[in-house]
Every structure is written in structure tokens, then in C-alpha cells.
Subunit: 194 residues, 2 copies
DNA sequence: ACAAAAAATGACACGTATGTATTTTTATTT
DNA sequence: AAATAAAAATACATACGTGTCATTTTTTGT
């Protein structure tokens, strides 16, 4: 596979990502991707053999980028509380994005595929986020910024709340104010008085 | 529509419910329901005009039953903490049920239909659960069982955690221990020491 | 028991998604 | 520039889901 082929593969993935963002996972067909990429049906099969494969690769791209944003923010020179707030604000922005269909698409994909619950991209993302938040809280406790008995559990709790907000945003809708209240509640539970 | 028709309608809905529980929403076709009910394609269309309609009615049934279970538990003669623990245990049982595909199906349905976020069954269920938990916490605060500044926000927080656990159970998997730890965390945040 | 009405059936026509195989176009090599 | 290889496009065969409709079966009333 030549350099040009690799470029085209990448182009297809990027275009497909947009399609998934517009339509979710289940409503995207090979035809949709073909049309978005302005290539032929047969051509697409030369690069990918199913929408599943395409979506998985899109997800992989996505998770790499997410990690980057994450590590960028924690290398900032700020207090633990600052970083946590930054992180929560970032999450808020993400989960309030109108028609955040890539999130939907991910859920749909996992629902349909009945993937192994033990080892999948989502789980790895979740676990790594928990670890980072845990470290953050530990640092905050050292600094006496936070008060917390069980940092790991506190970190997990934050992630569950965020997941809850995310799915609610996609189904019953959440307002900016609701998210803010949750963020305040989280901070207060760590003993942060604003 | 005679009494017999009503019976048959009910029979179809109950059978369809099982099908949705096995396959989710998106993978269920009229054919699946027809075969499960052991009736003909045309016959089904006499009672329902789409899988959407069937699913919505199944959901409605479900939400009515859920309300019943709920009010049963709060009429018990017990302390606020007891009732809250009972409720959380009930939720735990529900969310750990292997292949809880009706939950999945509900999400899939809401993803696909892009229903009004303001007024839908899920939202009504969520809001009513928040209200009940809020009342419960208020009662607990009166009793000095709980400590809590903002009962409404605490109630909302509990619901978001539960929603987070629910979606995680369906995608990345959660263990019984993880749920227990969350329940303890919730109780501790209300000042309950076990 | 028979006619009329109601309910149920199964086949049909239509649309759409998939994957492959053949043909055509484009690129590469000598 | 011709021959060969690679890439892309098109057409095709298959499969499946939907909704309707003519026909058959069952139920109901007299």
C-alpha cells in the first residue's frame, strides 16, 4: 500500500467521522460514506470491509485525540482544583454540544456488537480518566485544597456523574445550569468552597 | 374494538416486550414480532402500524409498572435511610441484570427518533424519581438521619450517578462491588455512617 | 344453519443495503 | 509510447424489511 493509499484511507476515515457525527452509527450505510467521500461503492471496499471496521478506526482516532487534549491540560502549571475545574468545564462543553452524535454512535455500536465488557476502547478511556482524576484529587488532598477519604472512589463517582450527564444530554436533555450545579456539587463534596 | 381485540393487543405488546428485551430496539423487525406472536404480517398491521408505535406502548406499560414498584417501597413504614437504601438496592438489581436490553432499546429509540427533549417518557420518569428522592432526603434531614444543604441537587446527583452506572453497565460493564461502592459513597455524602 | 361482518392470512411490489465480479480508467515501468 | 500493474467505477446478484391488498377463515347475529 503506497503513500497515496494511506492518504486516501485517512481521508475516508475523516470524512466517515463527519458522517457518523451527523447520523449516529446505526443509520450510516456504506452508501452514505461513499457519497460523502465522493468515491464509488467498490472503491470503498478496497480500503474497508464494513461500516463496523470504519467506525472502530474512527473511534480509535478519536480516543487518541482525546488523550492528547487531556494530557495537555494536566501539564498546565496550576492547582489541583484549577485543573479539575478545567477538566469538568471541558467535559461540560463536550456533553452539551448539540447533537453530539458521535457519543450516540459509540453507544449504538457497543449496544449492537455486544463487545467484550472487559476490554474495549470505552473501558480503557473510562479507566484512564478515573486514574487521572484520582491522581489529581490525591494531589489536591496533599495541598489541602481537597478533603477526601477515598480518592479512587471519588474519581469513579465523578466519572459516573459525567457518564450520567452525557447519556441524559442525549436522551432527556440537560441544561447548562444543570451541569453547573452538578459541577458545584462535585467540588463541594471535595470540600472546595468557591 | 371488542374485548377480544383488546386482549390480543395486550398479548402482542407483552410478547413484543420480550422481543425488545432480547434484541434491543434497532434489531427488532415486524417479522420478529410477528413470529414471536405466531400471527401473520398483515394481522399485526391491524393492531399496530409500526415498530415505533409498539415500542412506545411497551415503554408506557413499563413506566407504569416502575411507578408501582416505586410507590410500594415508599409506603413502607421505615426510616428515610432505609427507604433510600432499599431504592438504591432495587436500582442496583435492575442495572446489573445481564443483558438489560430494554434499557438499551430505550436509549436506541431515543437516539434514533430525536424526540423532543422537553417532554418524553424518560424525562418524566427521571423528574419524578428526582422528586421522590428529594422528598426522601428532606424527610431524612428532618429526622437528622441525613445532612444535606440542597436536597434537590443531592437527589439529582443520585439520579445522574444511577444513569451513569446504567449506561456503563451496558457498555463497559460494572461489577456488583463497583455499584456497592457508589451506593456507600452516596450514603456517606448524605452523612450516613453505616 | 346461513348470510353478513370481522379478523387473519400470505403473496406481492417496492425500496434499500450488502458484497462481488467485471469492466474501465489511471498510473507505472521499461 | 506500449505493456503491465494498480486503482476505481459500474453493474449485478442477493438478501431483507416494509406496507398493502386480494383472498380465506372465523366469528356473529338472525
Amino acid at each position: 500500500m503506497g503513500d497515496k493509499s494511506i492518504q486516501k484511507r485517512k481521508y475516508i476515515l475523516e470524512t466517515a467521522r463527519k458522517v457518523f457525527m451527523e447520523k449516529g452509527f446505526k443509520r450510516v450505510t456504506m452508501k452514505d460514506i461513499v457519497e460523502a467521500c465522493d468515491i464509488s461503492r467498490g472503491g470503498l471496499y478496497l480500503y474497508f470491509e464494513s461500516t463496523d471496521q470504519i467506525f472502530l478506526e474512527v473511534l480509535r482516532m478519536e480516543s487518541l485525540e482525546a488523550d492528547d487534549v487531556f494530557s495537555d491540560s494536566i501539564t498546565e502549571d496550576a492547582t489541583a482544583a484549577d485543573i479539575l475545574i478545567l477538566f469538568l468545564k471541558e467535559q461540560k462543553k463536550e456533553l452539551l454540544r448539540k447533537n453530539n452524535t458521535l457519543t450516540q454512535a459509540t453507544y449504538e455500536f457497543y449496544f449492537e456488537k455486544e463487545l467484550p465488557k472487559k476490554d474495549n476502547i470505552l473501558k480503557r478511556q473510562f479507566d484512564s480518566a478515573v486514574k487521572i482524576i484520582e491522581k489529581l484529587i490525591e494531589a489536591g488532598v496533599e495541598n489541602e485544597e481537597f478533603f477526601c477519604d477515598d480518592c479512587k472512589e471519588a474519581a469513579r463517582n465523578i466519572m459516573f456523574v459525567l457518564e450520567g450527564l452525557k447519556i441524559c444530554a442525549q436522551t432527556i436533555g440537560v441544561t447548562s445550569e444543570m451541569v453547573d450545579r452538578e459541577i458545584l456539587y462535585i467540588l463541594k463534596s471535595l470540600g472546595v468552597e468557591d
